[in-house]
Symmetry: C2
Subunit: 295 residues, 2 copies
């Protein structure tokens, strides 16, 4: 069977980039995989463990003949790094990413790239709080959703190849425009991350006698704040790149909390019960975690 | 071996009350267990499945000779129900509860009870989102924390017996004054519940084209909002009974969110990263969910 890609460069050999490399190799989709990153130790580990064949750490050392460039860094780095690779990229090179924000990434890339070099925005909704190549697993994307965000400018051939890549590593594909993607993910993923980080920090300032309040966190608190273990740089970038949506949804949320606070203070039992019962009903429709963790 | 109690009445044969009944019986701590509740179907199920020996549904039908009365209802119901049982209770009867709020419950009970009838406040930190007798499991309290909240008025003998009860069903005991209990639980449990309910309701009002945003919730969102499946009446009562603490902590939290929102809007990447990294560090110290769910 012919390879889908001859030379894949993975920029950021972490949980998602590393898992895609592993899955693509084991499924025979790519002939050669080259890693790029800043942490030599991480890259060496990835090479030793068969995630990548080799690696480079200076942008100008990117090899010739790259036909798939996967940007798997925090979203702020995608454009600048691509720009520095650009002089060595050949026409027919296909670029894709795995970022959790799409509108700005896609727009910036489309503005940057010359004709012939295609970009296809992708967001595999899989991951977790672990970082680095050591967290990579071949099966990360199996049965998980991957959203592709083509625009009118997206090359049809390139889109087709990226779709094949993600399908072959097991993802369920969905197509969506970048703005819609950001509006949905801003609510179901970005906002909860901000809230979880804020909860942990609020807890850390709560003084009760000389007791360590942290010691009393049960599984409710732990599940509630699990996503606060996610990598800070990634979420900083997401907040910056999807700031309008997150700011809007956070505003809606704060208003709701202010109302709840008034109800609690005023002892409005009926209103509180109605609020909780409504959330209860909606939460039922969302279902429970089925073993696999995905972000 | 002699029984610790002869006749135990469980008021509210749900997840916690039912589990305590099951555990107490299987460990030979009680001779007879009588259930009280409003739902006949639930009580019949509990009787049929050996959780209780028999049940009654009108307060004046409480049997004679009760030496342990366990109040396992939403906290608002504890005092009024106890008052209605009171004419039939004998001196030497011991009353305890399992409520998630302690200061007001303990104070109200101490004001209500005549000399001879003792109350010991207890809060087993175990549970989950399931409701009713069918959710009861014998091992619910094994290895989980149970906080007892004696005061200067608490009878030493009664405290000792309640402590034995909880130790024998597997709980790790801790003693704390009721106010301290509420300050800690208000932050690590009550506040997150309010936030999770509010998140689900905020999501339900978020319109993105004609898409059902709920369908895009990943495991991050699901874990974050798992506790929004908790029973509304229980959490309504907790909010009313611990309103000062919850209102205060919610106020702190809202302030933090407002600051985060400003940072997001103004693109303050460094401040956001510092906030997230700090939460990250603290979250590490709290640890992950170890299989057992406890509330």
């Amino acid at each position: 069977m012919a390879f889908l890609f001859q030379k894949m460069v993975v920029v950021g050999v972490g949980l998602v980039g590393g898992s895609l490399a592993l899955a693509a190799r084991r499924r025979g989709l790519v002939k050669e995989i080259v890693g790029y990153g800043r942490g030599e130790k991480n890259l060496k580990w990835a090479q030793k463990n068969g995630i990548i064949d080799r690696f480079f750490m200076r942008e100008h050392q990117i090899p010739e003949g790259v036909d798939l460039l996967v940007m798997a860094t925090p979203v702020q780095a995608i454009n600048a790094l691509t720009r520095s690779f650009l002089p060595k990229l050949e026409a027919s090179c296909l670029i894709t990413d795995v970022g959790s924000v799409k509108a700005r990434v896609v727009r910036d890339m489309e503005n940057l790239l010359p004709p012939g070099i295609s970009f296809v925005g992708a967001h595999p909704i899989a991951g977790g709080e672990q970082w680095g190549a050591q967290a990579a697993v071949e099966e990360l994307f199996v049965g998980q959703r991957c959203i592709l965000t083509p625009t009118l400018k997206t090359d049809a051939e390139a889109l087709k190849k990226v779709a094949i890549l993600w399908r072959r590593v097991g993802a369920k594909l969905e197509f969506m425009d970048p703005v819609t993607h950001d509006e949905i993910l801003g609510m179901v993923s970005h906002l909860p991350h901000v809230l979880a980080y804020a909860m942990v920090n609020t807890l850390s300032r709560w003084k009760v006698d000389s007791l360590d309040v942290k010691g009393y966190c049960g599984s409710g608190f732990k599940d509630f704040t699990r996503i606060a273990s996610s990598r800070p740089e990634i979420w900083r970038d997401i907040c910056l790149f999807n700031r309008q949506v997150i700011s809007k949804s956070l505003g809606d949320y704060i208003k709701r909390l202010q109302q709840l606070r008034r109800w609690i203070r005023d002892g409005e039992g009926d209103l509180l019960e109605r609020e909780f019962a409504s959330a209860n009903e909606i939460r039922k429709q969302i279902g429970s975690v089925d073993g696999k963790r995905g972000e």
